[in-house]
Symmetry: C2
């Protein structure tokens, strides 16, 4: 009964994603092994922290030779990725939404924004960065059809809560929210808010405080 009640922390998940991206780079450059202290630099952490993170995915380092990169990528992916490619929906095709379509256009192995949605009829059926824009009414159908469980929310602050609630009602399980409004939900839906405004204000604050 080795029930893995190994709830990996949010911070660790974030770092795993960062490690993997870096490991893929290293792989391309022909490197095949890596030490924990090398990885620690790219997340501004300690080597011990990296080793701890990597233990969560199955602890496959080797003393004195470090970690095998391709194996690490495989193990991290086993944790982060679904077995099949994940379909993502983008809600809100304004400036930011379009930029996000471009940003996430690269060759992603295990997820892809497959459809965009907006309230503006002028945008319906337009194709932006290779993805078609649909009306919000079509959202439920598309969710079912494409088995979408994750959405990116890039709508104005005023409509963020409403749209988020709509997504939740339609069965979305996680939301990456770019609207400057923190979404509250009672349900078990995971909501990550990337608050660019507070991030910038924080940077401004520390630009004065640091040294």
């Amino acid at each position: 009964m080795t029930r893995k009640e190994n709830r990996i922390s949010e911070k660790t998940i974030e770092r795993l994603s960062v490690y993997r991206r870096y490991l893929k780079d290293l792989n391309k450059k022909g490197k095949d092994r890596v030490y924990s202290h090398e990885l620690s630099q790219i997340v501004s952490g300690t080597a011990a922290q990296v080793r701890r993170d990597l233990m969560e995915v199955g602890c496959n380092g080797c003393s004195s030779k470090g970690y095998e990169i391709s194996l690490l990528i495989k193990e991290i992916s086993k944790v982060l990725d679904c077995s099949k490619k994940e379909n993502i929906a983008l809600i809100g095709v304004g400036n930011l939404g379009r930029a996000l379509l471009g940003y996430f256009s690269g060759a992603r192995d295990n997820y892809d924004i497959v459809a965009a949605f907006d309230n503006d009829p002028a945008k319906y059926n337009r194709i932006i960065c290779g993805r078609r824009c649909y009306s919000m009414e079509q959202l439920p159908n598309m969710i079912d059809e494409l088995k979408i469980s994750t959405a990116i929310l890039a709508v104005p602050a005023e409509s963020a809560e409403k749209e988020a609630q709509n997504l939740i009602d339609k069965g979305i399980k996680a939301i990456l929210n770019f609207a400057p409004r923190h979404i509250t939900t009672g349900s078990g839906v995971f909501i990550e808010t990337l608050d660019m405004t507070s991030a910038l204000e924080k940077a401004i604050y520390f630009s004065r405080k640091n040294t």
Copy 2:
């Protein structure tokens, strides 16, 4: 000697920014007092945490009537804002850079993106969302002239480190980095990376794990 060695934590600073934005909204709606438990909802925290945060800015609540909104805004601003308007530089005028110019275009009281920079000569002197785009060579001059100490970095991953180092060399004190690469620096420069890729991968992960 009441030296305020009161280093406010990063998390608290972020929340203060969120509180303030919400308080300004409330103010516009004509509300003039607020309770800690109301504020706690917008950051998914507890009322106690809010009160603690507010204590950091000068503890001006009042039993049973809550906090006076306009006073709170003033006190939070005293902490977050510089005395004069902060000038921000945007580095990288691609899709994302342009979207950010739009995003930060609203009426911001205490900071503003005043100039954009790019390596692409086709963009020089073009005006985007009201800001002129300059060549990277002009960066040092503009930093001096406009007293810029904070920059937003929206360049491709490949050039992120190089440009970041350039910014640091030129005297920038804080960087809000959107490139999917964690910037390491020995200096006291504050770097906040908004890693949209790892945020999305985290969301995808928890879309499967939650409930």
